[in-house]
Symmetry: C2
Subunit: 239 residues, 2 copies
């Protein structure tokens, strides 16, 4: 774990448990931390509310929420449930690309964060990418993140004119969901403020993929998720 160092950071903050943990990590240093939330496709406004609450909790320097109607652009099971994932994104070999893969999503997100960072003189871009539990996503692999880092030097006036080096920080890259919860727990992530469910009700549905991953993480870490549906009281009532 590194401290944030000089130059300031921008954190891609979705409102979920991964990006909340990343924000907690970035906030440990003394350099200013900014947050960028990209509201795309069918992701519910509930998630943006979670991101805002997390930004306030960690007292970020600035927090911009960008509405990007990515669903029309990039059909995916994650942005439009009526569509099937296009054939080009289906795996042909051993590693399976999940149906929730959104074409070029992290390239789009990192590009927006790069613009945000350059405009504000920030040099570190934090992302909750994870290559263990989500190994099927091509844009969650270290090779991709390093390639984007190289690109950012050529893509910006800061890089070309001043030799600025942008760093992509992906501290969760090799952690399991359980390890992420354990890390977040040590850093004091306010889990109650986070939101993982793909649906947007008042409580998480407990059934979607994202709820399942979250439950797995908390179970593995032996931590109680304050947002989980109250299972025991319900059972008690049935007696």
């Amino acid at each position: 774990m590194r401290s944030t160092g000089a130059g300031g950071s921008v954190v891609l903050l979705s409102g979920g448990m991964d990006s909340a943990t990343v924000l907690a990590l970035a906030s440990r240093g003394r350099a200013p931390v900014h947050a960028l939330t990209i509201q795309y496709g069918q992701r519910h406004v509930r998630e943006v509310r979670a991101a805002r609450a997390l930004g306030r909790h960690f007292a970020v320097e600035s927090h911009v929420v960008v509405r990007l109607p990515i669903g029309a652009l990039v059909p995916s099971a994650l942005t439009d449930r009526r569509r099937r994932v296009p054939a080009t994104t289906r795996a042909r070999r051993t590693t399976e690309v999940p149906a929730t893969y959104v074409p070029a999503r992290n390239t789009i997100f990192l590009s927006l964060a790069l613009g945000y960072a350059e405009a504000r003189g920030l040099r570190r871009i934090w992302i909750g990418a994870n290559a263990i539990d989500y190994s099927g996503y091509p844009d969650c692999r270290p090779e991709f993140l390093r390639a984007f880092e190289r690109l950012s030097r050529l893509a910006t006036a800061a890089g070309v004119e001043q030799g600025a080096r942008f760093r992509i920080e992906a501290p969760l890259l090799r952690l399991s969901k359980g390890e992420i919860v354990a890390l977040g727990e040590r850093l004091g992530v306010p889990w109650a403020l986070t939101w993982s469910c793909y649906r947007g009700g008042r409580r998480p549905c407990g059934r979607c993929d994202s709820c399942a991953w979250r439950a797995k993480g908390f179970r593995e870490a032996g931590v109680v998720d304050p947002t989980a549906p109250p299972a025991r009281p319900r059972r008690l009532r049935r007696r």
Copy 2:
């Protein structure tokens, strides 16, 4: 000049003279051509109307207009005239970065086009980037475009799983504004449908940077711009 070949294309179409010329080039082949327009910041709806008219003229397969409020994200003279360009984007050495530089703009645009392309099985991304008359933009240089091409293989399921190669086509890269007009004229670009002015009135203002560049191009090519203000009739009336 190459034909479009197999696999299909997506053209980043702003509605200006450069991207109209690129669309004309991409449309010469038999492979399907799609258009992507990114409406950002203060760029006027007039420009989007021009893009739509061009898309219809060249009978593109599909045309998506994405509204991206990039101004809040990336302050620039182009997206917010009240703001000064941040210090980090100012040139320190010989080449000057123009005040209209939008941090990471082409990275953001190409990323969106990459997602669009992957989702539809397209392999060629066309962009009107130009390194001659706009040499100050870091993300209009060939090094940047080649780096993005390399990144796209690592960034996508198509690249990683199927070894797909995305190609960034920037056929105007080394052309002057005059050469672009001459090329567009040969290809039959309907100049009357294009829009270059930074302002959004009924007629181009004739005074902004973009109008000046356009006028320079038409003058150099010896072509009459059908959208230029009618200078002569006005003078005649004064006699």
